[in-house]
């Protein structure tokens, strides 16, 4: 077999999308009643669940208390059934620790932590099904969950991965496309500020700018969808509150 042709001459990708098109994004907020905030988000075949507790007083070791702002605690995990082969995924392996750290940094940049000094916000994210772009999907899901919890943020944080094939940036990679050199960006779309930028492949600097541009556009696309989800959810919630 001759490998996969990631981008055809006609400009279609493996799954029929064009280079700049995102996968279908579907989301629901407030899926769990007991948590302070929760959301479920699908981006193509990647599905994630995010749950937020807080802000509440510090639990566990008090030494982590920050006196001017809230401490953010993130935990990322993958379900055993999230990939084609079932695999036990212990907590605290290197990959998920790293991912947790990335999420933490992202949300420290977005949440207005100075409003809640000496308190703690917990964000738990679980990948239910994985098909590429795990980090971005987690960020997007967690954003909705934080909004659901009513925690003030500077802006939505929207994330998206971008890959580089045949001199063309591809937005929102699926698993099969993730073999190419790619980068993930988490963006605060309104100000265009970058909350996190991650890339662990080699890429020539000439291409970086084009790739960043594509990533920002894609993130703005995501933010539009998320905004719609939030408005929809608010409308439903408002109707529910009025009716009874």
């Amino acid at each position: 077999m001759a490998g996969l042709e990631l981008l055809s001459d006609q400009g279609y990708r493996l799954d029929g999308r064009k280079a700049t098109e995102l996968r279908k994004v579907q989301a629901r907020m407030g899926v769990f009643a007991q948590a302070d905030g929760s959301a479920y988000l699908e981006q193509g075949n990647t599905r994630a669940l995010a749950v937020v507790y807080g802000p509440h007083e510090m639990r566990g070791s008090r030494s982590r208390t920050l006196h001017d702002r809230a401490a953010i605690n993130c935990q990322y995990s993958m379900a055993t059934f999230s990939t084609a082969e079932r695999k036990r995924r212990p907590h605290g392996d290197r990959k998920s620790t790293e991912m947790s750290l990335h999420l933490k940094q992202t949300f420290e940049a977005a949440i207005m932590t100075q409003l809640y000094p000496r308190s703690q916000i917990d964000i738990y994210v679980k990948i239910l099904q994985s098909d590429g772009g795990n980090y971005s999907v987690c960020v997007n899901a967690a954003t909705l969950a934080v909004i659901d919890a009513g925690i003030p943020m500077r802006d939505y944080v929207c994330a998206c991965s971008v890959g580089f094939v045949d001199e063309t940036p591809l937005a929102d990679l699926c698993y099969a496309e993730e073999s190419v050199s790619s980068l993930s960006v988490a963006l605060l779309p309104r100000g265009g500020q970058i909350a996190l930028l991650q890339m662990d492949a080699r890429l020539h600097q000439d291409h970086l700018e084009a790739l960043m541009e594509a990533a920002m556009t894609a993130c703005k696309g995501v933010s539009k969808v998320l905004d719609e989800v939030v408005r929809q959810h608010l409308q439903e919630a408002a109707v529910l509150n009025v009716c009874p």
Binding site: A2, E5, S8, D9, D15, G16, E21, K24, H204, D206
Partner: protein, 960 residues
């Protein structure tokens, strides 16, 4: 922007892995037809007036070929007559999996505007996507997908039928079952009509182009009649791929590239890549064991038990039996092969059990017209002797006889002696210079078409001048006395030199190389074309440029008295040629003189001349001698090969005189400084880019390569040491025999044949950088960017290293570099072969007009039934055979240890002086060859009488 209307999940199981992929269906995929007004397409590909004159389809129509039609009839599809074809994505994907070369050809056609080929992405179109049904095979699903798309097209175009004189869609399929299913499923009943025609019928129906029929490939269902094939199976069945793979994994089969022997059509070797560097060669003997493998195929072989191993025969055998009686011949010939050999020389022997990948390409050659007058089946003999003859079907045999033609192989059934193929195109009549040159270039895969418009568009606009910005960036060296020294008639001058004394008494030496990378920017069409061509190919009297003429002979060429951009390498040296400092810079130079080697030599020798150029040359010459001595002390080899020059008639361009090339001091002077520049640059770019420097290495040959050299030297009581390059160089220098001044040169010629090929490689992919021949730890090519692409890359790397230019992604990617190196190595090899063939062809032309000559020569090799003789005067090598089919063979005794060959009473050793007659044998017009026959020593019944000195009108028939 419309997005993902429907959402379908596609599950594909390959092996155990379950892969789940999304599959978006779109409704913004347009039909690509000029006619359609419903689609919101920006540009259309398919014409409104899509007429191909055909008996079957008298209306305008679009063709939809299915996968098998594309795979088998690609030669027909490539004809300019065939236009307005819809290639479905399903078809394209299937072709991609089945055959990479055909996929590339299809893609080329799609890109060609005049062909009007449109790719319809049917798998992502909402109305043409289908899901595989339970119980349906993948192939059936794809066939159905093709039918559904064809139907969709015809329905889609239905409303416009009126304006287009009944535009229709025609589905081409060779598969009878597919055709039936299509008809059953109501294609004709449906409101729009799709016509289903088999590919062959369609092509046969084309009115204007009867010759296209010859290009039709024979399909499987059209059984080749038993007229030509006996009912008995000639070959064992090939194993299926799954079993081959299992066998390779378990170690019972070996995978390797099949290499047919040039001299013996019943013999071949398979080179099996072992782990690491080493590989083994497996010998194959006999048609049964070769089992339909063709040169360059990737095959699976099974080793025979050790007691059946054989030694490679030294018999030269050519497949010359006519098609009819070949079976008888072969048995005899195969028997001659099976001679008992001593245990020591036996090699691992095996048989082909299956073909992993065919490497068929169109072959050049000539038609052997069948004796039966009306017959449409003829045998085709390829120019390359390693390719078997091919049976083709043509109705124009009479016109094709005597022409060089191209033929492609379609298949090789197991009951057929020869593979079946079809005619592709004619190149012109044989023996003509243009035709032969074309054949030569095609056979060696040398890209030789004129440069395309896209490429030419990246050339600088004339009149060209150096801009002030450029002037500011570069070092101005116009005041220096720079001159170039090249062979006579050279128009692509890529190097120039200067040497001057500095105030501190040291010498400043500069090598200035044409700054080609300034004109060829990375990534554009010009660059891609040059990268593909890899090198300029020099044939006798013709040059196939790597870059367009404007650059190669004008803007880049460092001609005298014009300002040119250069990349300079400047050293400060003391009078002992020790380098004190090295500097690289982009510069502007103004060469003061373009000299030939002879002119430069004259200036140096003429003591009355004392101008600046001459003093500069003398300085260079003095330093070069020291450099050369140092290099040889380090163990660099001086090897020898005879190169010949033709003096061409200025009008007919026929060779009128042959001359071996002379080497002068100035040749070596220029060479020394080029070597020095190359080594300095190699070190610099490697220091700067340890991962992606493009370097050149020359591996040390394995000791066994030297066997022939050692044996040959021993026969003259000379000892050769081969432990290291230095030892070899020293013992070669010491090897002299009294009264035999040519011995040393002959020995060096033999030594050259023992060497490995030098290759380009990327420093990040290899750890051994040593250049054996030059005895340098690191080496690259920097000095000829006009004619070698490797040098352009090196220029770019060096420019980045000194901050004169910026990098780009591919330059820093070691995998891409490595792929580029592979291409460059391949092109260089092919260019070399093409060059040699061109020399051989011109030698033939030369001897054609000379009649029979009697010349002195030396025995270079001894074979079982022949000796190979080198004639120093012409640098010509030829074979003298001692046995022939139609005559009683003389008593021949071959001794492998010597090696010697005793014919009747006379014993031939390597290096023996003999006299031979040379004549052109034109009996086989395709392989005209130089024939040699022995005149001295006189062996009764073997040697021929000394011919008259005057050229004879009729050549006597010579023994062979």
């Amino acid at each position: 922007m419309l997005k993902s209307k429907t959402f379908v999940k596609k599950t594909r199981s390959g092996g155990v892995m379950k892969i789940v992929r999304e599959h978006y269906l779109r409704d913004d995929i347009w039909c690509g037809s000029e006619v359609c007004t419903g689609c919101k397409q920006e540009s259309t590909v398919l014409q409104k007036d899509a007429c191909i004159e055909s008996n079957l389809c008298s209306y305008p129509h679009y063709l939809i070929p299915d996968t098998n039609v594309v795979l088998h009839q690609i030669d027909v599809l490539e004809d300019p007559v065939i236009r307005n074809v819809i290639i479905l994505q399903t078809v394209l994907q299937e072709v991609r999996h089945r055959s990479a070369p055909i996929y590339k050809r299809v893609k080329d056609m799609i890109h060609e505007k005049e062909k009007h080929f449109y790719t319809f992405t049917n798998e992502h179109h909402r109305e043409t996507f289908i899901e595989r049904e339970p119980g349906e095979t993948a192939n059936d699903r794809n066939d159905r997908a093709i039918r559904v798309s064809a139907k969709w097209y015809s329905q889609h175009l239905k409303p416009f039928e009126a304006d287009t004189e009944g535009l229709k869609v025609v589905l081409l399929t060779n598969d009878l079952r597919n055709k039936q299913t299509a008809e059953e499923s109501g294609f004709r009943m449906s409101s729009a009509t799709v016509f289903i025609i088999s590919g062959e019928e369609y092509i046969k129906s084309l009115i204007a182009n009867p010759e296209l029929v010859d290009r039709l490939a024979l399909s499987n269902d059209e059984k080749v009649t038993n007229e030509i094939t006996s009912s008995k199976l000639l070959y064992p069945e090939h194993l299926p791929l799954s079993r081959i793979q299992a066998g390779i994994k378990s170690g019972s089969f070996l995978q390797g590239t099949f290499r047919a022997s040039r001299d013996n059509y019943l013999e071949a070797t398979v080179f099996v890549q072992g782990e690491g560097e080493d590989g083994t060669e497996v010998l194959l003997q006999g048609l049964q064991n070769l089992n339909r493998a063709v040169h360059q195929d990737v095959v699976a072989v099974q080793l025979l038990p050790r007691n059946q191993w054989v030694a490679p025969s030294s018999v030269v055998l050519q497949d010359e039996g006519a098609a009819k009686d070949d079976n008888v011949d072969e048995e005899e010939e195969e028997n001659t092969l099976k001679e008992s050999a001593t245990e020591s020389v036996r090699k691992p022997t095996g048989k082909v059990v299956g073909i992993i990948k065919r490497n068929w390409r169109p072959f050049c050659g000539m038609l052997n017209v069948s004796q039966i007058k009306e017959s449409t089946r003829h045998l085709f003999t390829p120019a390359d002797r390693r390719i078997p003859r091919i049976r083709i079907e043509t109705r124009q045999a009479a016109t094709l006889a005597g022409q060089r033609i191209m033929v492609a192989i379609d298949g090789w059934p197991k009951d057929s002696r020869y593979p079946n193929g079809h005619f592709v195109r004619s190149l012109g009549s044989a023996g003509e210079k243009e035709t032969e040159e074309e054949v030569l270039l095609l056979e060696h895969d040398v890209p030789h078409q004129a440069f395309s418009q896209a490429v030419l568009s990246f050339l600088p606009k004339m009149p060209w001048a150096i801009t002030p910005e450029e002037m500011a960036k570069r070092m101005d060296l116009r005041h220096l006395t720079v001159c170039s020294v090249d062979p006579p008639g050279c128009t692509d001058i890529d190097d120039a030199l200067h040497c001057r004394e500095l105030e501190n008494g040291n010498l400043e030496v500069g090598v200035h190389i044409a700054d080609v990378s300034h004109f060829i920017r990375p990534g554009n069409a010009l660059d891609k074309e040059a990268a593909n061509r890899g090198t300029t190919v020099y044939l006798c009297g013709k040059r196939i440029d790597m870059v367009p003429e404007l650059l190669s002979s004008n803007l880049c060429s460092l001609r005298s008295n014009v300002e040119r951009l250069a990349f300079s390498c400047i050293w400060e040296m003391n009078h002992k040629a020790e380098i004190l400092s090295t500097k690289f810079t982009k510069s502007i130079i103004n060469s003061k003189a373009s000299l030939t080697y002879a002119e430069a030599q004259m200036r140096i020798d003429d003591t009355s001349m004392n101008d600046e150029i001459t003093t500069s040359l003398r300085g260079l010459n003095k330093l070069a001698k020291i450099l050369k001595r140092q290099r040889i002390e380090k163990g660099a080899l001086t090897l020898s090969s005879l190169e010949v020059r033709f003096h061409m008639d200025s009008e007919t361009h026929d060779p009128i005189e042959l001359q071996t090339k002379e080497l002068m001091e100035t040749n070596s002077m220029v060479e020394e400084f080029m070597l020095l520049a190359n080594i300095s640059v190699a070190q610099k770019i490697y220091d700067e880019f340890s991962e992606c420097a493009l370097l050149r290495k020359h591996p040390a040959p394995p000791p066994s390569n030297y066997d022939i050299l050692l044996k040959a030297a021993k026969s003259k009581n000379v000892e050769i040491h081969t432990d290291s390059a230095k030892a070899l160089a020293d013992s070669l220098d010491g090897a002299r025999v009294k009264d035999f001044p040519y011995f040393n040169t002959l020995l060096r010629i033999l030594a050259t044949r023992c060497m490995m090929q030098a290759v380009y490689f990327c420093s990040g992919m290899d750890s051994d950088f040593h250049h054996y021949g030059l005895a340098s730890p690191i080496y690259t090519h920097f000095t000829s960017p006009i004619r070698r692409y490797a040098d352009i890359i090196v220029h770019r790397l060096l420019a980045v290293a000194i901050g004169a230019d910026s990098t780009y992604a591919d330059l820093m990617d070691k995998h891409k570099q490595s792929a580029l190196c592979n291409n460059l190595n391949y092109r260089h090899k092919m260019a070399q072969y093409a060059q040699r063939s061109s020399v051989a062809f011109h030698t033939q032309l030369f001897f054609k007009s000379r009649g029979i000559l009697n010349e002195e020569g030396f025995v270079l090799f001894v074979r079982k039934n022949a000796i190979i003789v080198l004639i120093p005067k012409f640098g010509l090598e030829g074979t003298v055979f001692f046995d022939s089919k139609d005559k009683t063979a003389p008593n021949i005794v071959f001794d492998e240890e010597g090696p010697t060959l005793t014919v009747e009473q006379h014993t031939f050793h390597i290096f023996d002086k003999v006299k031979v007659t040379i004549s052109l044998d034109a009996s086989n017009i395709q392989h005209q060859k130089i024939r040699m026959a022995l005149t001295e020593p006189v062996i009764p019944g073997v040697s021929v009488p000394v011919p008259d000195v005057e050229p004879q009108a009729k050549k006597p028939k010579l023994d062979r």
